[in-house]
Symmetry: C3
Subunit: 173 residues, 3 copies
């Protein structure tokens, strides 16, 4: 699969292979590869998952850790000839909630920024809205924020893929 | 996207954009628009969600609130030249469970009724079966009822769409 | 829908119609039908679900109950002129976890075995990774194991289908 547009969103479930697929998309561009990791290592399990992802990715990536100021970091590393993989939007939303940030404003800002960037951008995100309504209110709010952000980003990017069992399904572009 | 058949089912996750997509489908028919809201405002959060949906929808809809007697209401407002949007089947199933209704019978009745209606009908429903098995027995039963209803309705309508991140994927028709 | 390859994976949510679709795929081959049931009846609810599945399936199947030694049983019943339906991989993973088995090793063994089998094989499995991150650690581990297995099997089989509301979507093949 080749990235035909300038910007893409890759949605998928847990362990769907969405990150690996996105990395292959980025590698196939032949551009200088940058990786924005939004995950924060709150505990050992998370630290382990992040470490495993980095190993899987190999050394040919420049990694930027940015849990909150995603738009700022995207702007700062934006250059023609680069591809930036943001992994992932749902962890970013989690961090925004933890920090008490204005999430709709932050999401609108990110979506609006895309058309002005020179780099190719690939967003990875978890689809989390296809299970039973969570009993926990914060989980319901998170699910709403994530769903709205996915709609905004999907409307703003050139291509959208849904990944299941490692297989991409083209939804847009 | 244009509704090409007479009846449709629009499935999607929480905040997937399935309602907005369904409303655009209905508006594109150019027919007189009727909306059956099945949701009951049990608490403030639910009341807020329902209110937000109504605002998003605008004033060009006739709204009918019908938490339980869906088949009856569909029959009562059925006319050629109308499009009826039912939002959503999963809330209807929830209400049937609360009322201790015979759900398989109610669902079979709804599916059987479709071929005899003159209006165009669009059903919206939440796909809820793609997460971990819920620990709560009632949630498991709900998930089973919803899944079986989706199969019945999908078999009976002309078109089925799956919506993720606001993007429709045609599954049937 | 006709099985065009020798091996297939059918993914879907709870009550998505994935088993019924897989049975129709198997029946359409015209081959001698074998069914490997991986589910264990831990309680009445489970016993009831298994019983209902057997009734739905009818008498024209040879049923093998195999909760753990799936690769062994596949090898033992493998013959040209047979189709084997394995329902389902997620229950098998559950059983492996219960038994404290080496899951990555077992999964790799299953994936590697496929190319050497003479029978046609159809795997059914539950997609469980599209909801909110479960609070329960074991549920998170299960979700990870299931997702990785789906990726491995999807990479090894000829065809992959995703079923929702009884409707198959071809993901591969």
């Amino acid at each position: 699969m080749i990235l035909s547009g300038k910007t893409a969103l890759v949605l998928g479930g847990a362990r769907s292979g969405k990150s690996a697929f996105s990395e292959r998309l980025a590698e196939a561009t032949g551009l200088e590869r940058h990786y924005i990791a939004t995950g924060r290592a709150y505990d050992d399990e998370m630290r382990e998952r992040i470490g495993r992802h980095q190993e899987d990715r190999g050394a040919s990536w420049v990694t930027h850790e940015e849990p909150v100021e995603l738009s700022h970091t995207l702007g700062a590393i934006d250059r023609p000839g680069r591809v930036v993989l943001v992994d992932c939007l749902t962890l970013w939303v989690t961090n925004l909630m933890m920090e008490g940030e204005d999430i709709p404003m932050r999401c609108a800002e990110l979506a609006a920024q895309l058309s002005s960037l020179d780099a190719r951008i690939i967003f990875v995100s978890n689809e989390v809205g296809l299970g039973i309504v969570p009993e926990n209110r914060m989980a319901r709010e998170f699910r709403d924020h994530a769903g709205r952000l996915h709609q905004q980003i999907a409307a703003s990017v050139d291509e959208v893929f849904f990944v299941a069992a490692g297989l991409p399904l083209r939804m847009k572009g």
